[in-house]
């Protein structure tokens, strides 16, 4: 139960309805009345700008879906954000990530990845968030795997989904039909 009340469509003013329509007409194909949308509805102008970056991170980078979702799941795990975890666990499975990889990320154990790209994306994300910087070895490995453009886009996905997780945690945003907390094992 979030600290921000969900709004029914008839409770929204024209600007709020327009924001939901904009989101629904884009690649997400549905309005976003829970999750980050709860905050965006409080300020549709900011919501419009933020959702455009969200759409880029989900659908506009040069990374395949499984790599994008590995980055997002690793980020959601770090911040223990239940909505982000729930939504992107689902997306990750849909993108073909093996369930035991998702479980290992949730349990903070080392996953056995299906590709080098998944592994490198996971490792740089985790190292950045836990250490607040990345070693030369990790940086060079990521640069070699992805090249500069895709590496910048990877950092944007880590940053943007951290941004969203921080905001949702301020307001205790959780999924409507999923667990309202993500388990919190010790870091290993």
């Amino acid at each position: 139960m979030a600290r921000l009340k969900a709004l029914a469509r008839e409770e929204m003013d024209a600007e709020q309805q327009a924001l939901m329509d904009e989101i629904a007409s884009g690649p997400r194909k549905a309005p976003m009345t829970n999750g980050p949308g709860l905050g965006w509805l409080r300020n549709p102008k900011a919501g419009h700008i933020a959702q455009q970056m969200g759409a880029f991170c989900r659908f506009g980078t040069g990374h395949p879906d499984d790599v994008v979702e590995i980055i997002i799941c690793t980020t959601a795990r770090y911040w223990s954000q239940p909505y982000e975890w729930w939504a992107h666990k689902r997306n990750g499975l849909k993108a073909g990530i093996a369930p035991d990889i998702i479980d290992a990320i949730e349990n903070r154990t080392k996953p056995k990845f299906q590709s080098i790209e998944q592994e490198v994306a996971h490792d740089i994300t985790k190292e950045m968030l836990e250490n607040k910087k990345v070693s030369n070895a990790t940086y060079e490995r990521a640069l070699k795997t992805f090249g500069e453009k895709k590496l910048v886009e990877l950092t944007q996905v880590v940053g943007y989904y951290s941004n969203i997780a921080i905001q949702m945690n301020c307001f205790e945003v959780a999924p409507d039909d999923g667990p309202n907390a993500i388990k919190d094992p010790a870091f290993t």
């Binding site: 905050g39 900011a46 700008i49 933020a50 506009g60 886009e153 944007q156 940053g159 951290s162």
Partner: protein
């Protein structure tokens, strides 16, 4: 000393030139800090520029409260460029050097206003513990109201994003 080379005007294609002009339009400069990264993916860069423009210039926060939140975020991530830039802004916005030094040292600062103090506490707690206690949330929502608190959370989130990206590319204070 960043891990990326700044892009020179001569190397830019049309979309990078458009991004440069958009950045220049908001910040009166177009290189350094968070900007050099954005040229590698100009469509991403335009969206990042719009979000940063919103947080810095349009969010519903007084400038001293805004700069308190940004400095606390920069201190958390130890991001040298963000720290240096926003120390200047914070002094201009009226924060005391003592408060700034305390933020840097992660000591409890003595702030001039209750709003600065709450903005600092919210920012530190959400970044360090990944959640906000009921008590901190209640103080913040009473002090700011819901719409302003939503913008405060947006600023902390987005400046954390900028700091994360800059730290991956080792962007220094320049």
């Amino acid at each position: 000393m960043s891990r990326l080379k700044p892009m020179s005007d001569a190397d830019m294609d049309a979309s990078q030139t458009a991004l440069r002009d958009a950045i220049q339009g908001v910040w009166k400069r177009s290189t350094g800090g968070p900007f050099d990264q954005w040229y590698l993916s100009p469509d991403m860069g335009l969206r990042a520029n719009a979000l940063t423009d919103y947080c810095r210039w349009q969010a519903k926060l007084e400038s001293d409260v805004l700069e308190t939140a940004i400095l606390t975020t920069a201190a958390h991530w130890a991001q040298p460029y963000q720290w240096k830039t926003h120390v200047k802004n914070a002094l201009d916005a009226g924060l005391s050097q003592d408060a700034i030094d305390a933020i840097a040292a992660k000591r409890p600062p003595i702030f001039a206003t209750v709003e600065q103090s709450i903005a600092h506490d919210v920012t530190r707690e959400i970044l360090e513990t990944h959640k906000l206690s009921a008590e901190t949330y209640a103080r913040a929502v009473t002090a700011f109201g819901e719409p302003v608190l939503v913008d405060l959370a947006a600023v902390v989130g987005w400046y954390a994003s900028l700091a994360i990206q800059m730290n991956i590319f080792d962007v220094g204070a320049s």
